[in-house]
């Protein structure tokens, strides 16, 4: 699945986007974050406070409980600070 990161999540992970094969047990956005957290120190640092992470599936806001379903792109980012 294509995963894209923004702001300090992007800086901590170290890449703006990547394609990651998610195992079968990964069903929801929250599951994906848990899986990513285990991929290395940079990921563990990026996702050290998983509850504050915001997500979008195919560019629409979703909650961490949302199933990944058939979505092609998962975006993960900190709370937004526009305006």
């Amino acid at each position: 699945m294509k995963i894209v990161y923004f702001a300090w999540l992007r800086e901590r992970v170290g890449v703006p986007e990547e394609v990651i094969a998610l195992p079968d047990g990964v069903r929801t956005v929250g599951d994906a974050i848990t899986h990513l957290s285990g991929l290395g120190e940079n990921y563990a640092y990026a996702f050290e406070r998983p509850a504050i992470i915001r997500a979008a599936l195919d560019r629409k806001h979703v909650s961490l409980e949302t199933p990944l379903g058939e979505a092609r792109e998962l975006a993960l980012f900190p709370p937004m600070t526009g305006g």
Binding site: V4, F6, A7, W8, A56, R59, K60, H61, A75, F77, P78, P79, M80, T81, G82, G83
Partner: protein, 151 residues
């Protein structure tokens, strides 16, 4: 269908021109409320703010918020323009201008759009420090999230 203009740009925002668009050539607009958000220098400590955004989703999300406002109040036009990239102190980061026949709808519509834009449009601010040291990412405020519940 009222005109809804949503634009992201790297260069300065022309508040006058963007606002004139809402009333030019028509006689039904009786009120235009504009909100302009500016970059602060935080007592001289910042040389600017870097605005990161999610291309595609940022425009789509602001448009969705504007359409929601148009469904709630009798609005006659909406312009929302947001900067991305480096913004200097004193420059406009965001302009929201809302036209209606009477002021109440324009005030409410502009406030609604700004409240949702702050916590739902995918933008992130990073500080550029005047002393050249690495700046911090701006933290989201709980009060911004709380502001949504009144709508």
């Amino acid at each position: 269908m009222l005109p809804i203009v949503v634009r992201l740009q790297a260069g300065p925002i022309d508040v006058g021109a963007e606002t004139r668009f809402l009333s030019e050539g028509r006689g039904d607009v009786g009120a235009i409320v504009t909100f302009t958000g500016l970059c602060r220098d935080e007592k001289g400590t910042l040389s600017g703010l870097e605005l990161e955004h999610f291309p595609g989703m940022a425009e789509a999300e602001i448009t969705r918020i504007a359409e929601e406002a148009a469904g709630r109040w009798p609005l006659l036009g909406i312009v929302a323009v947001h900067r991305h990239g480096l913004v200097a102190p004193g420059e406009v980061i965001v302009l929201v201008a809302v036209a209606s026949a009477h002021r109440q709808a324009a005030f409410a519509g502009a406030e609604f759009i700004m409240d949702f834009l702050k916590s739902r449009a995918p933008f992130w601010k990073k500080e550029h420090r005047a002393d050249g040291r690495e700046g911090q990412w701006v933290d989201a405020k709980d009060s911004d999230e709380a502001a949504l519940s009144r709508w």
